[in-house]
Symmetry: D2
Subunit: 362 residues, 4 copies
């Protein structure tokens, strides 16, 4: 297992840089015969495009996947699949300050400079840009297909942006998320979130928020022991998305205030199937799925790139100064992060399904 790889039976290796030639992913362990459609992958990619006029960067990212290996006649061969998306519209001049040694507050610039001794690609954050999540989304689109025989659904939606928080939604409502620019499938909250974004935009500022992930049709027993528990792997995956600062499973932090008698989900039998009356566990017990919907909440910090002037330092000249960023920056990444979080969830579930023998590896 290398630093840029994730998964055990289904493995992805992330590669590429924000302003390099490509971003991409290598995926190993796709069961031979799995249908691979570029069209479907491109649909996934279009969901993470900067589509909300108000919220996102103006950098044009009409991302189209190219598959270089691992597919023959539309089906996975069992060999490693390499997929790339070519980077377009790079505007190198916006990153002169990086060459000069100015580091952006909230970004990886400073520790990356120290760790990589100045050899890392600094343009647009390089390897630390959210652009690398293009590869995650490709992997998720393929993982969704791998899970098709199990009929597993993963649905995420924008739970909050800044101070606007939408109440928990039912799975059926949540499914309509991609009909809303904010990915918050409630007409009221969609409007409120847009307003919140407009205000921040006007101030040259940015916003954070939360995504809620839900699933349908999970079998009992997905998840491996101890360090490969389903919550361990999901948390690892989510924290690999730039800007994530918190992850909860089920009742999460609220559970820490409950008593056992309130938090334990009582078992009952319903139509011959074991189920629970509540789902504080978020579908996970002992690191394994218990047949209830898996629920996760992911907290994103506000976008670090803002137009307001900021105090910072120049690491090459060891001096303080004020940095004012140019270029095109999202006001809030949360809407664009919905398909990313969904993709990683699908990927973890597919890996677990193969590991656990729910899907055949060969």
């Amino acid at each position: 297992m290398s630093d840029n790889s994730f998964g055990r039976s289904l493995v992805m290796v992330s590669f590429g840089e924000s302003h390099g030639e490509v971003v991409g992913v290598l995926i190993e362990g796709i069961p031979p015969g799995t249908v691979i459609e570029e069209k479907r992958i491109n649909e996934w990619l279009s969901r993470r495009k900067p589509n909300a006029s108000v919220a996102s960067t103006k950098r044009k990212e009409e991302d189209t996947v190219e598959i270089l290996s691992g597919v023959y006649r539309g089906k996975a061969t069992g060999a490693p699949l390499v997929a790339i998306v070519r980077n377009k519209g790079s505007v190198d001049e916006f990153y002169e300050f990086a060459e000069q040694g100015w580091v952006r507050p909230g970004h990886a610039d400073y520790p990356a400079y120290v760790k990589y001794k100045g050899f890392n690609d600094p343009r647009g954050g390089g390897r630390f840009s959210a652009r690398i999540t293009v590869g995650f989304v490709i992997a998720g689109a393929i993982a969704e297909k791998i899970l098709e025989p199990l009929n597993i659904e993963v649905v995420g939606y924008t739970k909050s942006v800044g101070s606007v928080e939408c109440p928990d939604l039912e799975l059926e409502t949540a499914k309509k998320r991609y009909n809303y620019e904010t990915r918050c499938p409630s007409p009221d909250y969609d409007s409120l979130i847009k307003e919140e974004m407009l205000k921040a935009k006007k101030d040259g500022d940015s916003l954070g928020g939360k995504i809620r992930i839900m699933t349908g049709n999970l079998p009992v027993g997905l998840g491996q022991p101890v360090f490969s528990s389903i919550d361990s792997e999901l948390a690892k995956a989510y924290f690999s998305i730039p800007a994530v600062k918190g992850v909860e499973i089920g009742a999460g932090f609220s559970a820490s205030k409950l008593r056992g008698s309130q938090n334990n989900d009582p078992y009952v039998i319903k139509n011959g199937v074991i189920t629970t009356l509540t789902n504080n566990a978020g579908g996970v017990l002992g690191g394994m799925t218990n047949g209830q919907p898996l629920i996760a909440t992911i907290a994103f910090k506000p976008v670090s790139s803002i137009y307001k002037p900021q105090r910072t330092v120049n690491v090459k000249e060891m001096k303080e100064g004020i940095l004012q960023l140019k270029g095109f920056h999202d006001v809030c990444v949360v809407p664009r992060a919905v398909p990313i979080a969904e993709a990683l969830t699908y990927f973890v579930l597919a890996d677990m399904a193969i590991r656990g023998g729910f899907i055949s590896e060969r």
Copy 2:
């Protein structure tokens, strides 16, 4: 990387069961020459003992480590170190209900039964018991020693239990945690938490809570790319502790409500060293340490084993029923989990320090 293993350059493999012969850990990658003292490991182990009269199980766990390999004349040889702690005081009769097929709400019993087809060791949760964290603590004690040349400190404390939440503490105050039964190093909150626990105990109920982890003296640049970012690895580690349901880095979920201009930590130069005015990032940017204290908060659900009768099912006979647990159970695991969370933090930092060349692998 196997399911029960964690780390890349410093690797631990967890093994053992709650009521089996031993719990233990195999550790690979300890730099040769590292001093290994059983006495020091036993001190660590004593911190996770059920020491708070009010809060913990009465099962006696006077855990003493035995090192089976990898040490010669008191120093690590570079070969795998295997350390075990023998289980004592098992009371098998308390687990008859498990044999009969009754599953405990909130525990792994049901999904484990399905996943392992009934072959898993069911006594006391077997492999899913918090008892396996004995191995984590041993690994942490050794990781602390590995990090000694860097002078890195990890300090955790009980941040909340149930509805009682202690304000954030300074590192120097927090260091006194082990002088307090609750591991909350504030006389006032220590008392309040004890009260909270007594109330829950009287009700035959249990409590959750939060642990806050802080560090001192971290160098800049610890943390590997993308999936091995320091927050990804920490989150994976923390979610491997039974009962954990949430993890935050720095401002965490609160950051989702801030604007970028509030959340970004401005850089300044102080005594010739780059530092930040605030630490909302919790010391982590782009998955790497930025030289500020690493801050993490971990949410624990209330203990699943309670004395109150609970609705549940029998998986062997597919029928509903009421289960009333006997045996000795903690009211709240949070105080005992403090050294566990610290241990895993040390382990992640030591692995990263070796990976990043801060500590020599050979």
Copy 3:
């Protein structure tokens, strides 16, 4: 995957030292429900005992396995199985020369001293002793059991010792190997090999030799792509046995002298099954089993410990000198290495069978 571990779906981690407290192995990925009998493991261990009066060390190794975890009521639980054998009869005084800084020609002493900066356990070769293969044999005994549903057989025998080389034997004949002290199941060659050994012994010298591995009932398609081809994994495993200096699959080095028309094994259909007329491939094509018997030959150098005086150096004092070894040493390890090579073969096949879906992982 760590340095001391091997396998992917079935993983073993080797630990222990020749004159430390134990040698042992941790095994992960054993399908839950697999019957684990200590009696059967001890039978395997007895096969690598120094049983041939003429050939082997007099150090008594009555090895008995202790299983510390992963087994409940005689069956694998799916959790890591840790098995140890306690070392007995250590005679530390024979290793004073090591403390003084003398390195034995042909042994790992010198590079180990440099690599581990003198921190490695030097007694009896420590971690580099053939004694660590005890763990390999335990793993093989369990792998054999895992493969039981596929009815796969692995049979090795002593093909040569020194200048005495036995012709290739049929599988049925080879199966009788453990009736012969030399593990060469031909009465004539058994005698000749004993003679060869006696001569070398009288001279205070040692011998090398070859082991031939054969299998029965292999399915078609075992073996993963490229770096996890079945021959890659077998070669890696065999070269991990101390003293191995060469590995061949099928016709091996002889194949390099054949023409394609001679070496290619023609396919035919026999009783409705695809088979080949010859087996120069040794059952492996493109790194996968082709349904023919897998054939491997393994070359062992002569035992490095001899009683004759040898030129060598003292690494602590940087001076030359003559070293004369004491203690008990095998004249030839080949007979004792037969079960070791078989064990690793079973292990590779079991790992591949699980990876390839021939045996269920759960």
Copy 4:
């Protein structure tokens, strides 16, 4: 660690198919700042071109590398480097027989068909073609650069083809290998080998042979314990080259016929440096380098594709038949395999040098 990946600190993942769009490699762990020159990689690639008029396929492979990620301003950034070579000159019509179900003797066709259920890319062997070694060569060219600070040299040459075997050569002589079409840097044996090839060619047949690998300037102590011994890793690498059937280290199979007193390499001190009088060990003791030249010999079977008609079967129709191959095929791969074997040797040494702290990982 996935099936198509190799290495631990320096990791390559092989991808691509013989007649797919590309063959390539992803490399992780290149120390930041390592100079990456496409020109140098292309020189390496030109060495595995079908250059010997007599010996090789006429398929034109003017391979040119494209680097997609991981390099900025000519230097490695520390991020994954993805390099591809586009496939040209594919002649699909030569592979109609594969579509029909005829399997080529000596090739992976039959087991691949069974294992991948017919979903593998069958054109030109697909994933099982020697064409995938293009990626190995790219990785080797980069590994050579990584090792530059240690001044390590790896030199391979054609040791034998068919029945013609060249005596062992000195390192300085061997270095001239690429001045000879056969890669056998002896004018006499170069001629004899060409003759041998011409004869085989006239007969529509093919040849195998051996490659001898030598190194210069290896430090003492490269190589990790047990399963990551330097010989284990080299053997695994070499057996991943298509057509390899045997690997020897040092005296190899001959060592099995020697006595310990002959085979042990006596230590002496020469100019203040510990060295050995002989090198039967091939520079490897206990899986670590001992400072002497590493010597390995690799046996290749004759090319499986021959023009002579061969008995075989049709796996789709389960019938016997005669197959006569068309297309362009090498008479002998050994000369082209010299840079491949060198590349993998460099790669293993570079990985070990990083793991062992001889080269800094960051």
